[in-house]
Amino acid sequence: MKYTEIMIRYGELSTKGKNRKDFIGRLAGNVTKVLRDFPEVEIHPKHDRLHVILNGAPFTEIDQRLKKVFGIQTYSPTVKVAKTLADIEKTSLELMQATFKKGMTFKVNTKRSDHHFEYDTNELNSLVGDYLFTNMDSLKVEMKHPDLVLRIEVRQDAIYLSNQLLHGAGGMPVGTGGRAVMMLSGGIDSPVASYLALKRGVDIEMVHFYSPPYTTEKAMAKAKELTAILASYSGRINFIAVPFAEIQETIKEKVPEGYLMTVQRRFMLRLADEIRAKRNELAIFNGESVGQVASQTLESMFAINDVTTTPVVRPVATMDKTEIIALAEKIGTFALSIQPFEDCCTIFAPPRPKTKPKVDKVREYEERLDVAGLIQRALDGIKITAIRPGEKFLDKQMEEDTALL
């Protein structure tokens, strides 16, 4: 079926009042970004709908991309036809044949904003319904809960036909929720937390700690590739790599074993906060989940959080591991997350970390350290890369090499 345009319906807009314009503008911008490589596509934001005019671009490919754009509630591939009954009938039949499976029920639903059109809604419903009924075998009419609803919209310029209602990603357009840093490790939880942040419209930048030579290049490539998967929900994400080995070595040398983990986490949070402040962002997101590991008990979180008053948002805080995994699988990060490369969270993990660290003790141990100097040197070593949807980092070389086969 050759669709001519896609009609996009917004989500959660009724409550947005004056911000409606921002919302629509941002969504149009995000849709433009994901469809960047289809120059023929035109995007027209209107107050109640966003119209994507295909101009010959392939619907299936565009469908794959739109599915991931937050802020879209539903959308319908649509065909524009001339305002004659014959055209309506012919195209309706094609549309129905393309989506009909044996045993399905249908109804016709007409809306008319051009009241000068020669048939009114009831006439069109029954004329087109009869036509489809006589031209298709085993098609049944059902008014209450039909499987297919053929929508006919009679407007001034033309008539628009569609019979599919596809579900979008929901949520808010990325960018309408402000900007924040996201602490991304290579694990299962932080990519899921990133996804949830993006879903609420928060524009995030990834902060990733790495510790060569304790961690390998592959661990960082994995985090970058996870970012590239998440970027397909937002268009593009900055990846901020923070060198962390000196801090970890110093802490290992000077802090008692039970408190290694707590102090390391406090340094990570301080660094994330410094980066946030420099980049004019409003919050820190991370993948902590209550009770999952020693650093994620409420006592630990309290002791770690002591270094900042910035909001630290934990989207997966109350989710079970199984729920997090299910979501990771759905968004496509799970398989990559479970690849076993040592990351900086595991290399200096003490065998018996304190699950109930005391804030005053932590502060006392940190007095032995040159906190400001360590933080400054780590910040000086930051590298920022912009990562695009689907970019490859882990197997980049392999892709080149396999071209030889």
């Binding site: 197997d395 070389q397 090499d401 086969l405």
Partner: protein, 385 residues
């Protein structure tokens, strides 16, 4: 120059050679090394394995790289016999196998295994009922080739597979060194086949590389002990450039496979048409679906195969006696002997084997040259009188 000896070895494809060279130059590290160069080699190794598995319709974990067809055959046979010796010491093969299979069985016989060698009919084919009769409670292995290397007979692998469905503990090995790329794969590689051997230099890849398909869950004892490569089953640093070359060659081979096979069949048909009904000429590889398209074996009675090879060689036409591996021992031209062809005919046999680069013009040239030779020897031998 006309090269009609492709069943002995094929010429390496320039694109395959390029892959070999590039991998040897750029991806030289040991796939077992921990550093990133080693990792790159490892990835390339697994990418090659994956591609081969996809092309052959197997799982990636079922492909094991060897040094060639001989090693794959030896490993499949000896590895099974040793692995399953507790369950029985009876092994079955055919009487027309390649030396790497036949001699592996002889070696096992010397170690106390009992081997049944199935006879063949006058087309060189084993009979499924003979196999059924040979099976006993001690049988652990059946090994029958897919395509005969000397005369091109396609063995009834599908029918044997059906029979062996009732004997799930018997491992079924098929030497498919002559069978890949001839548009007959489903007939010689059924889901019942547990083990199957391939050799890369038979399809325009480097020599010194081959593979054994081993079905998931089937066990064979390793013959090489060492660093534990290939999941601990075949130690030895992997020959990565050759493996990559083989992966590429299989892709190229199976591209337009049917057309390639048709081309070879047309060349064979043309020469057979010339040879048939000529007094003194005996054709062992008829043109029909029971034979591979690329092998043509025939004898000119009274003239030793060796003599014909050298006479044709003077005209820059290269062919074999029945098989390169047996050519120094014409008396044991095994397939023909097993078919009960008289010795004096068997020693007169030559084998022409084609590939997709051979042409009908070459067939015409061969016929023109051979016709002169034929008439000369016919006169000497008083043929047709």
């Amino acid at each position: 120059m006309i090269y009609f000896d492709n069943s002995a070895t094929t010429k390496i494809d320039p694109a395959v050679l390029k892959t070999y060279e590039t991998v040897a130059e750029d991806i030289w590290a040991n796939p077992s090394s921990l550093h990133k160069l080693g990792d790159r080699s490892h990835q390339m190794l697994e990418a090659s394995r994956k591609q081969i598995a996809q092309l052959l319709g197997t799982k990636q974990d079922e492909i094991f790289f060897t040094s060639g067809g001989t090693e794959a055959n030896n490993w499949a046979i000896k590895g099974t016999a040793i692995q399953k010796r507790e369950f029985g010491k009876h092994l079955i093969t055919s009487s027309v196998e390649h030396a790497s299979v036949a001699n592996a069985f002889t070696a096992l016989e010397n170690l106390g295994f009992r081997v049944t060698r199935l006879p063949v009919d006058k087309e060189g084919r084993v009979s499924v009922s003979d196999l059924r009769n040979a099976l006993d409670s001690e049988t652990t292995l059946v090994s029958v080739m897919g395509v005969n290397n000397e005369i091109g007979t396609i063995q009834p692998i599908a029918e044997i597979s059906d029979l062996l469905e009732n004997y799930p503990t018997i491992q079924f090995h098929v030497d498919n060194v002559q069978a890949l790329g001839k548009n007959i794969w489903p007939r010689v590689f059924t889901p019942r086949v547990d083990l199957s051997s391939l050799s890369a230099h038979k399809f325009h890849a480097p020599r010194g590389i081959g593979l054994l398909y081993k079905k998931e869950g089937k066990m064979i004892t390793p013959l090489h002990d060492g660093g534990g490569q290939e999941k601990g089953l075949r130690s030895g640093t992997e020959n990565l450039p050759a493996i990559a070359g083989m992966a590429k060659a299989i892709r190229l081979l199976l591209n337009d496979e049917a057309e390639k096979a048709d081309k070879e069949a047309a060349i064979k048909a043309k020469i057979v048409q010339y040879l048939q009904d000529k007094p003194g000429i005996k054709i062992f590889s008829p043109v029909n679906t029971g034979f591979a398209p690329h092998i043509l074996c025939f004898a000119l009675e009274g003239i030793r195969g060796e003599t014909l090879v050298h006479t044709l060689e003077e005209q820059e036409i290269y062919v074999s006696t029945t098989s390169a591996c047996a050519s120094t021992k014409v008396d044991e031209a095994s397939t023909l002997v097993a078919m009960r062809v008289a010795d004096k005919v068997a020693t007169s046999a030559i084998r022409l084997s084609f590939d997709e680069s051979n042409t009908l013009e070459e067939a015409d040239q061969f016929i023109a040259v051979f016709d002169k030779i034929y008439r000369h020897f016919a006169k000497v031998n008083h043929l047709g009188e």
